[in-house]
């Protein structure tokens, strides 16, 4: 049945992308377009007392200046959208709506928007706006924060409690023969997709009232439709969000809504379509970030390395107006068989920009802390790091007690060791060199929750033999166009060229925000089901038509094959889809499907797993660390397309590498203004930072997640890599670095 699915096909949108024809959000050629430019607050805390817009308004080409005074009034954000808690402690997003009041909660917060007829004029006029603030001293450190909370859940999810105790970890720690307590810290990092945030907003008068089209860099077109329509007090149907291509998101572009709302308001004010393309500099204030963390790991173990207790306590921060909490214990809660397990998350509200998920939220930095602590414990016990992990291999989920849907982590360790040559290394720290450089090997376990969400899809068969399958999901580099076309072609038994998959439009059948590595597991089954439904409809047409060779046959005696419905028993008896439709005088036949995960979610614990091994070179005299090689083996279920999957995974690996070695955003500790605010100061890995990478997967389908057997792969590469590198640096140098990123100064200082 799966003829196309699972094949390493080239991306179907590849040609568009390599010719520059793929259309990104800022690139719609909307007539009469005006340009918006943002005036960001220069203070991090205070009140806007006055905005002098006279000079800006007098500047050539300026159409209007949007300020809290003249901005359209917005309704409050919904409490929850699609099951995701938006507001409050642990909630996903900023509570505050833009330009509705004079309060300033972080530097760079938009306080005005200048709209002009050209980009240059808008930007220049924005520099002419004078804002007077009543300034207050911002709170910028977690230790000194006056408002600290203990959020109950992560974005309201019932199964994601943030304060948990299983057994009695305190007592177990006290009694443990071997104890280890370490603090790990990680810096603020930014997603920095290469495509900046952008929105074009276009209002029209339609018979039913005003209608708003948003071309937005959104990986949640329906979510955004709901947020924008609620905020503007419009019926949901009066807002359409379009986004066929996203230039990378990595957790951004999903949950912070001020940018599209500001654009919609600006367009309303000037009565013209408006485009706001955010400057890279602004992305460090409005695009979301991974907050810094301060994590205390306490491990108790027997002398032979059996974990007795694990306590993982996190301090992290959000803005004043957001309760988003980096869920750092996501790995600790499930990775090892530990009888006594505890974790907590303390959230400090600071006058810094709002955080949001970033690739591997919680897992990337929380997993780093855990897997570094495990390496430290292995060293303490003189155990091989892999062996320590095997001794604590979890046969079921230690927090919930549920069995895994599918887990083959042992094979990953085994294969990874072979690939990197684990046994050939000298396990003694500081024992290996190449030329003037120290060499080290390190490993870590990786995991990722295998989420699946409800979704809908529609399949349409046309009388000319082609088909269209649609769902409001997103193409953000994940290969959505490609894999869902593959799946749909299989579902319809049609050649790939005759099937098209459409996405990225809120007018299409419902799909969730693309995130949490859940897109494949969510949309794949929906597409498949829609295909099946449309074939059922077609079967009915055939069996009911006296002229059909299939007339009077039972539907389940018929199957689809090569664009034809044929008798299972006799494939020569049948007819092609187009013929059935033509005879029925139907231009097309369509069917939808609405699918959601079922009982299995209650019965099993769904996770992907993997093992990451790296070799680093360390130039100790300068503190420079380079990766020579990375070998990783993943257990992620069945792959829909090994080619795009490989790219997803190495992309994740490199983002993990960036967080480990170089990525760090700094805010001035006095003013709260971003000091690192561009791509020259915020280093993301370049091609020169790319090691030789070998990625393998076991390819064992998950028997429970869906009939496709596919779990997600978007984030698992990012998790594990940081600890593997950090542990390798220890092996190379004998130094434990416990603060990300491992920039040269840290190695020199320690």
């Amino acid at each position: 049945m799966l003829e196309h699915t699972g094949k390493p096909l080239d991306r179907v949108d590849g040609r568009l992308k390599v010719t520059g024809a793929a259309r990104f959000s800022a690139e719609w050629d909307v007539p009469n377009l005006a340009y918006g430019a943002i005036v960001g607050s220069t203070v991090a805390r205070g009140t806007v007392r006055a905005i002098d817009t006279a000079a800006a308004r007098a500047a050539p080409g300026v159409l209007a200046v949007l300020t809290p005074e003249n901005a359209p009034r917005l309704q409050p954000l919904p409490e929850k959208v699609g099951g995701t808690l938006f507001r409050g402690e642990g909630g996903m997003t900023e509570t505050r709506q833009p330009l509705q009041d004079a309060a300033v909660h972080y530097a760079g917060q938009p306080v005005a928007v200048v709209v002009a007829d050209t980009l240059e004029r808008a930007r220049h006029a924005a520099s002419l706006v004078r804002v007077r603030y009543e300034e207050q001293a911002p709170e910028l450190t977690m230790q000194a924060a006056s408002h600290r909370t203990l959020p109950e859940t992560f974005v309201g999810a019932k199964d994601e409690k943030l304060q948990v105790t299983v057994g009695d970890p305190q007592a177990a720690l006290a009694a443990a023969p071997v104890r280890l307590e370490r603090v790990y810290q990680s810096a603020i990092t930014h997603h920095n997709p290469i495509e900046p945030l952008a929105t074009i907003a276009r209002w029209e008068q339609r018979p039913g009232g005003p209608f708003l089209t948003l071309y937005d860099t959104s990986r949640g077109v329906e979510n955004l439709q709901e947020v924008v329509s609620t905020s503007l007090g419009l019926p949901k149907e009066s807002v359409q969000v379009v986004c066929p291509f996203i230039g990378g998101a990595f957790g951004a572009k999903g949950w912070l809504f001020a940018p599209p709302l500001l654009t919609a308001m600006a367009a309303q004010l000037v009565g013209r379509p408006v485009k706001i393309e955010w400057r890279r500099q602004d992305m460090f204030s409005v695009a979301g970030q991974r907050a810094a963390t301060h994590q205390t790991l306490r491990l108790g173990a027997t002398r032979d390395g059996k974990l007795l207790a694990l306590q993982h306590d996190t301090q992290t921060h959000a803005s004043i107006t957001s309760g988003y909490t980096e869920p750092c214990a996501r790995v600790s809660r499930m990775l090892y068989a530990v009888p006594h397990l505890g974790f907590s998350h303390q959230l400090a509200h600071l006058h810094l920009p709002s955080p949001c998920p970033m690739r591997g939220p919680g897992e990337t930095v929380g997993g780093w802390a855990l897997e570094c602590a495990m390496d430290e414990l292995a060293a303490e016990l003189s155990l091989d790091p892999v062996e320590l992990r095997l001794r604590n291999y979890a046969e079921k989920n230690p927090e919930t007690g549920k069995p895994w849907s599918s887990k083959h982590l042992r094979e990953c360790y085994e294969r990874g060791q072979k690939l990197i040559g684990w046994d050939q290394r000298n396990p003694k720290p500081r024992s290996m060199r190449e030329g003037t450089q120290l060499v080290g090997y390190g490993m870590a376990t990786t995991m990722y929750p295998a989420a699946r969400r409800p979704a809908e899809a529609r399949a349409t068969l046309f009388a000319d033999g082609r088909a269209l399958v649609q769902s409001a999901t997103h193409e953000l580099g994940n290969g959505a166009y490609t894999i869902f076309r593959q799946i749909s072609a299989d579902g319809l038994a049609l050649p790939l060229e005759r099937v098209r998959f459409e996405l990225g439009d809120s007018a299409l059948p419902t799909a969730p925000t693309s995130g949490g590595s859940a897109t494949t597991a969510t949309i794949g089954p929906a597409a498949l089901e829609a295909c099946r439904n449309v074939l059922t409809a077609l079967k009915r047409l055939a069996t009911q038509s006296p002229q059909s060779p299939l007339h009077g046959q039972a539907e389940d005696a018929i199957e689809a094959r090569d664009g034809r419905l044929v008798l299972k028993a006799d494939a020569t008896r049948g007819e092609d889809y187009a013929a059935i439709l033509r005879r029925a005088k139907l231009p097309s036949v369509a069917a939808t499907a609405s699918v959601k995960p079922g009982e299995e979610r209650e019965q099993y614990s769904f996770y992907s797993f993997g093992a990451v091994f790296v070799k680093v070179r360390v130039d100790e005299a300068s503190g420079s660390i380079r990766l020579a090689r990375l070998c990783a083996v993943y257990d992620v279920g069945r792959l829909m397309n090994p080619k795009t999957a490989h790219s997803q995974i190495i992309g994740g690996v490199m983002m993990g590498l960036g967080a480990t070695l170089m990525e760090e955003t700094q805010y001035d500790q006095r003013t709260g203004r971003a000091v690192v605010r561009n791509l020259a100061d915020y280093h993301v890995p370049s091609l020169a930072d790319t090691p030789d990478i070998t990625v393998e997967w076991l390819g064992i389908p998950d028997p429970h997640i869906s009939e496709l057997g596919a779990r997600g792969i978007g984030e698992i590469g990012c998790v594990g890599t940081p600890a593997a590198i950090t542990n390798a640096v220890y092996h190379a140098t004998g130094q434990r670095l416990r603060s990300l990123p491992l920039t040269p100064d840290k190695l020199l200082r320690s």
Binding site: S127, A628, L661, P744
Partner: protein, 351 residues
């Protein structure tokens, strides 16, 4: 960006006069620093005089063995020029370890040493900065000053100069040919840049409207080499860098000239006392360590940049070891690989 007038230069004299005549005029060559900062809202010239039509793109040997590099030569062209590579590998290495392929294609030799600091506060018009806005204060002094100066800073400014090329030119005692309102003149490269003192807005000793026409490399019969430490394997500014020009006499050092980058408001030539310490000596790690210790004796670290002291010392030792042949270069002389400490990632190092 503020509106401005744009003019193409027709001759060096015309260009110089045009800029000199208007206090708010500036030259533009490759534009990679000038336009960058105009877009940031840091610079607001009202007239931009494009010097690219002047050509000035030749590289010509000078009598007596030197080499004249036209101010309009692109960083790429200079770095790959056979005479530059052969005679002054430090120059090629510095250029190729800087920026990216595209920027090197655009950037001119005249513009490169005149690029402005990468101090993040300088680049943000909302922050106080004496260099951008004299008298507004120095936000870096008590702020995030990880990339700032160890030497020669003032309480008005602690910025560093970001050019790689400039460090190599300082070690090689290049000369700057200019044409200014007062006619042509020659400036020793080490005197082109200045320390911030009370007027950090002034990066160089050039007069307003003084045009660089060429950079002259004096004859040199020795080895030169450039090393650079950065936070990512490529496409990043130096945390610390070091250029060495070493002349030998038999087994002994006749003259050693060393400049450090990333540590001061200008390329930081080592104090004469340290350079003379090396002269007449046989190269050895011990000697170099002693010189390095001496070189950093006067370093004045700020809150976040003390790491540059051990980094700089180690780098200096290593640059001397590699230039004197006591340690192999990391890659072929005259390439980015020779200059990049740590090299690129991956198993196979460049050979």
């Amino acid at each position: 960006m503020h509106p401005f007038q744009y003019q193409r230069a027709s001759s060096p004299a015309q260009a110089s006069a045009a800029v000199a005549a208007q206090p708010t005029a500036a030259f533009v060559a490759g534009g990679t620093s000038q336009l960058d900062l105009m877009k940031e809202g840091v610079l607001h010239p009202e007239l931009l005089v494009d010097v690219t039509p002047l050509g000035l793109t030749s590289i010509t040997p000078l009598e007596g063995g030197g080499l004249r590099l036209g101010a309009g030569v692109s960083n790429t062209a200079a770095a790959l020029h056979p005479l530059v590579r052969q005679r002054y590998p430090a120059v090629s290495e510095a250029l190729l370890a800087g920026a990216s392929t595209q920027i090197r294609n655009m950037a001119s030799l005249g513009g490169n040493p005149l690029q402005r600091t990468r101090c993040p506060y300088f680049r943000d018009p909302a922050q106080p900065c004496n260099k951008r806005e004299p008298g507004s204060g120095c936000a870096a002094l008590g702020g995030y000053n990880r990339v700032h100066a160890l030497f020669g800073a003032s309480d008005k400014c602690v910025a560093t100069h970001p050019s790689d090329l400039a460090v190599a030119l300082a070690a090689l005692d290049a000369q700057v040919q200019t044409l200014g309102p007062g006619g042509p003149r020659v400036i020793p490269f080490t005197e082109l840049h200045r320390l911030p003192g009370d007027t950090p807005q002034q990066d160089t000793t050039l007069a307003h409207g003084e045009l660089i026409t060429s950079l002259d490399l004096p004859a040199f019969n020795g080895r030169s080499h450039y090393l650079k430490v950065r936070e990512r394997a490529s496409y990043a500014f130096a945390l610390v860098s070091c250029a060495v020009a070493l002349e030998m006499e038999g087994k002994k050092i006749r003259r050693a000239r060393v400049a450090l980058g990333g540590v001061a408001h200008k390329p930081w030539r080592l104090p004469a006392a340290v350079e003379t310490m090396l002269a007449g000596q046989k190269p050895s790690e011990k000697l170099f360590r002693a010189a390095a210790a001496q070189a950093f004796a006067e370093a004045r670290p700020l809150e976040h940049n003390a790491y540059k002291i051990p980094m700089g010392r180690n780098l200096l030792v290593r640059a001397l070891l590699e230039t004197s042949g006591l340690q192999p270069l990391q890659g072929p002389a005259g390439t980015a690989f020779a200059a990049s400490v740590g090299g690129v990632s991956g198993e196979v190092a460049a050979q």
